[in-house]
Symmetry: C2
Subunit: 196 residues, 2 copies
Amino acid sequence: MSTTRERIVSASTELFSRNGYAGTGIKAILAASDAPFGSLYHFFPGGKEALGAAAIRAGGTTYLRLVEEFYGAGADVVDATRQFFEGAAAMIEATDFADACPIATVALEVSSVSEPMREAAAEAFESWLAALRLRLHEAGIEPERAAELAIELFCALEGAFLLSRATRDNTPILVAGRAVTRSVEAAVRSAVPLTR
Amino acid sequence: MSTTRERIVSASTELFSRNGYAGTGIKAILAASDAPFGSLYHFFPGGKEALGAAAIRAGGTTYLRLVEEFYGAGADVVDATRQFFEGAAAMIEATDFADACPIATVALEVSSVSEPMREAAAEAFESWLAALRLRLHEAGIEPERAAELAIELFCALEGAFLLSRATRDNTPILVAGRAVTRSVEAAVRSAVPLTR
């Protein structure tokens, strides 16, 4: 069983990612998490902004686990990249183009207006990039190129999520995924696998 | 002199892109556009949602002109791509990481909740992709590859805008730009220029 606090955070992550931070009212969050009115300020004395930061961190952790599922230790990073984008394309279509990145909507909304939430988003994004860098480097790609490739992959996916949600078409995710997969393939081909 | 309607739309485009659609109140829009209270419903009987769609269309047109400035008729598409990303990186830094895509924030917020605004965003994005496709094709890249490359470029830039705003660092725009420039270069190299 999840606690009331966990339910509030989880409902917030979902509602914020679909409808935005400002567009999601406290009442909707409490209804979705089956929590009494006072509970929000009990668990989040900092109010909605503190809840926003917690929701971003929770979304970041969930997505990090997803990244780690695809890019497991010893995974073929070329296959992982192909499957990651194909999985994202399938997911967005299955959820009627609602579920894409759990953080992007809020991150764009708050980057210029809330430092605590901007920082939470930056930390979440950085945790995904770190996971990707690690696996790309383990595949023999030198650190500097692995860092660039991780950024390229992130940007391609996030941009494709935006275009796919707006056009209700998952083709951009597949197109972006093929391009990134080719880049990863080229980097792996010219890499020297690490000896262990 | 701009008309009251133009000032309202222009202020809305800027406020929505920085702070989101739901996060921007009517009062803030009227104050920024120096317009009397009644004027919003006079020009936009459909209310805030109609204004939102108009602001998205206006932002789309402004950015289309920017794309066309870089990718002019007969432009070297490799140079144009490099300069487009370098220009975007300079702009985001100069505006304290506020001004990036004029539409992305609102597009993510409303994609699942407002069809008129989602459609306005989809049309704006499609107009940019069409402009890019045209120039890439004129550079001798066959239509299917030109269409893919336009999507790759769009996704790389939008994803990089997100990461740069969240981390307050324009490096992702430069990294994504170098990757896309390499892809455009490779496509042009293997292309047969159109005879005129």
